[in-house]
C-alpha cells in the first residue's frame, strides 16, 4: 500500500512543478512565434494602447510645447468635462447623435429582413441570385460617391427631382441644406447602402431553418404568407434580436464619415454629432484637451453600451464573445 502512495505523491509533485519548470522552456521553444508577433503587437501598443494612455490630456491643460507628459493638470481635473456638459452644444449633440442612431435602427431594421424573405421566397433562384448580387453593390461605394449620386438627384440647382418640381411649377427644395430633410436623407442613404449587405445574415439564418417544418406546413395546407409568419419569422427571431442589440452597442457612433461628408453649416442644428464636433473642436480649432475629454466621454459610454448589449445578447442565447 505504501508503494503506490509514494509514487502517487511523486506524480502529484511532478505534475505541480511541471508548469513552473516548463514555462520558460515553453516560451523559449515558441520564440520564433513571438518574433512573428512582434511587429503586430508593437503596432497595437503604439497605435491603440498609447492613445488610451494619451487620453489623460483630457484632464490636463494640453499645450503643444510641453506635450502629453509635461503639460500641467487642469484645475479642477474635470474642467473640460464640465465645460462640455455646460456648453450650449451638449444637449444638441447628444440629441442629434441619439436621434440619428435611433432612426437608423428603427427604419433600417425591417428592409434587409423583408428583402431576405423575398429572396428566399423567390422560386427562380438564378433571378434571385442576380438581384442579390446587384443589391450588395452600394455597400462598397464610399460615402463621397454616394453624396455625389445624391447631388445628381437632390441638388437645389441641378438635381433631377428639383427639375421635375420646377416643371410642375413648384419651388425648388434645398434637400441637402435643409434641416427638415437632412436626417431623412441620412437614414435613407444608409438603408440604400446596406439593404443587400445586411440581408446576408438573415438569409443564412433562413437557410438554417428545419425544412421539415415547411413540409408539415404544406401538408396542413398553410399558405406561403402563413408559413412566413409562423415558420420563417420565428425561425430568425433570435438573429433579429441579436443584431438589434449589437447595434445598440454602437449607438453613439451614428455614422461619423457619412455625416462628415454630407453635412454643411446650414444643417448643423440637426446633423452635428459627437464625432463631428470633436473633429472640429479638436483638430480644426486645436483644442486638444476639450476634444479628448468629449472623446473619452463617448468612448466610456460606448464601452458600457457594448458590454451591456453583449451581456443582453448572451442572455438571449448567443453573444459574440
Amino acid at each position: 500500500m505504501s508503494m503506490p502512495a509514494t509514487s502517487d505523491a511523486r506524480g502529484v509533485t511532478s505534475a505541480r512543478a511541471a508548469p513552473r519548470r516548463r514555462l520558460p522552456g515553453a516560451i523559449w521553444r515558441h520564440r520564433v512565434f513571438y518574433l512573428m508577433l512582434l511587429p503586430g503587437v508593437l503596432w497595437f501598443v503604439v497605435y491603440k494602447y498609447f492613445p488610451m494612455y494619451g487620453v489623460i490630456i483630457a484632464f490636463k491643460e494640453y499645450n503643444l510645447v510641453d506635450g502629453v507628459f509635461a503639460s500641467g493638470w487642469a484645475d479642477p481635473w474635470y474642467k473640460y468635462f464640465k465645460q462640455f456638459v455646460e456648453s450650449p452644444y451638449f444637449g444638441q449633440l447628444l440629441a442629434n447623435t441619439f436621434l440619428i442612431s435611433f432612426y437608423k435602427l428603427l427604419f433600417g431594421m425591417a428592409p434587409p429582413i423583408v428583402f431576405a424573405l423575398l429572396i428566399s421566397e423567390c422560386r427562380y433562384s438564378r433571378y434571385a441570385r442576380f438581384i442579390q448580387t446587384l443589391s450588395y453593390m452600394p455597400h462598397f461605394l464610399s460615402w463621397v460617391v454616394i453624396f455625389g449620386i445624391l447631388t445628381a438627384f437632390l441638388s437645389q440647382s441641378s438635381g433631377l427631382v428639383n427639375r421635375y418640381i420646377g416643371e410642375f411649377g413648384g419651388d425648388p427644395v434645398p434637400f441637402l441644406t435643409s434641416t427638415d430633410w437632412f436626417r431623412s436623407i441620412l437614414v435613407g442613404s444608409d438603408i440604400w447602402k446596406d439593404i443587400g449587405w445586411g440581408s446576408i445574415i438573415y438569409l443564412a439564418a433562413i437557410a438554417g431553418i428545419d425544412p421539415t417544418l415547411y413540409e408539415a406546413g404544406r401538408v396542413d395546407g398553410a399558405s406561403r404568407l402563413r408559413m412566413i409568419w409562423h415558420i420563417t419569422l420565428p425561425g430568425i427571431r433570435n438573429v433579429i434580436v441579436l443584431l438589434m442589440i449589437l447595434q445598440l452597442g454602437h449607438f453613439l457612433d451614428a455614422g461619423f464619415e457619412q455625416i462628415y461628408v454630407m453635412y454643411n453649416v446650414q444643417v448643423y442644428p440637426v446633423a452635428d454629432i459627437i464625432d463631428t464636433w470633436v473633429y472640429r473642436v479638436g483638430l480644426q480649432d486645436l483644442n486638444f484637451s476639450l476634444g479628448s475629454a468629449v472623446g473619452l466621454f463617448k468612448s466610456a459610454i460606448g464601452l458600457v453600451l457594448v458590454l451591456g448589449s453583449n451581456a443582453l445578447a448572451r442572455r438571449w442565447g448567443g453573444g459574440i464573445w
Binding site: 515558441h30 520564433v32 512565434f33 512573428m36 508577433l37 511587429p39 503586430g40 503587437v41 497595437f44 491603440k48 494602447y49 492613445p51 488610451m52 494612455y53 494619451g54 487620453v55 490630456i57 423575398l118 429572396i119 421566397e121 423567390c122 434571385a128 438581384i131 446587384l134 443589391s135 453593390m137 462598397f140 464610399s142 460615402w143 463621397v144 460617391v145 453624396f147 455625389g148 449620386i149 447631388t151 445628381a152 441641378s158 433631377l160 427639375r163 421635375y164 440604400w192 439593404i195 443587400g196 445574415i201 443564412a204 395546407g221 464619415e257 462628415y260 461628408v261 453649416v265 479638436g282 486638444f288 476634444g291 479628448s292 472623446g295 473619452l296 463617448k298 468612448s299 464601452l303 459574440i320
Partner: protein
Amino acid sequence: MVKSSLTEDRVFNTITVVLLAIVGITAVFPLLFVLSMSVTPYAEVLKNGGFIVIPRSVTLEGYRQVLSDDHIPRAFLVTVFITVVGTAINLLLSFLMAYPLSKKTLPGRSLLLMMVLFTMLFSGGMIPTYLIVKATGILNSVWALIVPSAISAFNLLIMKSFVENLPEELFESARVDGAKEWRILFQLVVPLSVPVMLTVGLFYAVQHWNTLLSAIMYVNDRSLYPLQVVLREILVGAESLDLVEAGAKIPSETFKMAAVIISTLPMIIVYPFIQKYFRKGAMLGSVKG
C-alpha cells in the same frame, strides 16, 4: 381548393419577382444615371427634362476635364498607392499575427487575444490617436494614410480562426521534414489560406480605396490628398455656394459626375468578379464576429 392555392401561388410569385426587380433597379439605377450624366452634354440633359438613362449623344468632355484637372490625376495615384501598398502591409501583418495566435500551445496566447479584442471595445479617441500619429513622425505623409489602419482587429480574428482550422497534421509533417516555422508560414499556411486572404484582402482594399477620414485628420498637404477628399471638395464646393469665392469657376455637372465615376471606377470594374468573395466574407464576419 387546389386551384385556388395555385392561383395564390402564382400571384405570390409575381409579387416577389416584381418587388425584387424594384430593389435591384433601386440599387443600380442611381449609379447608371450618374454614368449617363457624365457622358451627356449638359445642354442635352436639360433638353430631355434631365431624365436620361441611355444618352442620345455622347461627349467625353467631362472625362477630359477630369484628366486635365489640377488635383484628380494625382489624387488617383495616391489612392492607388495606398490601396496596393496598404493592403500588402495589412495582409503581411495579419498573417504574422494570425499564425502564432492560432497555436493553442503558445504561452500568453489568451492574453494577446484579449489585447486585440479590447481595442474593439474601447479606444483612446480621435485626438489622442492624432497625437500618437504626430509623435511617430508620419503626420502629413502618405504613411499617415496607411500605418494607423495597418491592422483591423476584426479582420485579424477572421484570419486567425481560419488558420486555426487548417489541419495540424500538415504542420507536423512539415516540421518532421525539418522545415522552419517561417517556411511553414509562407509556404504552407499562406497558400492554404488563399480563400480567407482574398476575402480579408478585399475588405482591406475597399477600405483603402475609400480612405477619407484619416486623410482629413492627418494630412494637410494637398498633393497627398486621396481621391475621396478631392472628390468631396469638388462636390461640396459646388453645392454650398458660399464656399465658392466670387469669380471661382463652378464645376460643370458633367465634370462632377465624371469625377464621381472615376472615383468608383475600379470598384465597378472588379465588382462582378469579386462579389462572391465579399459574400463569403460577410458570412465569416457575421458568424465569427
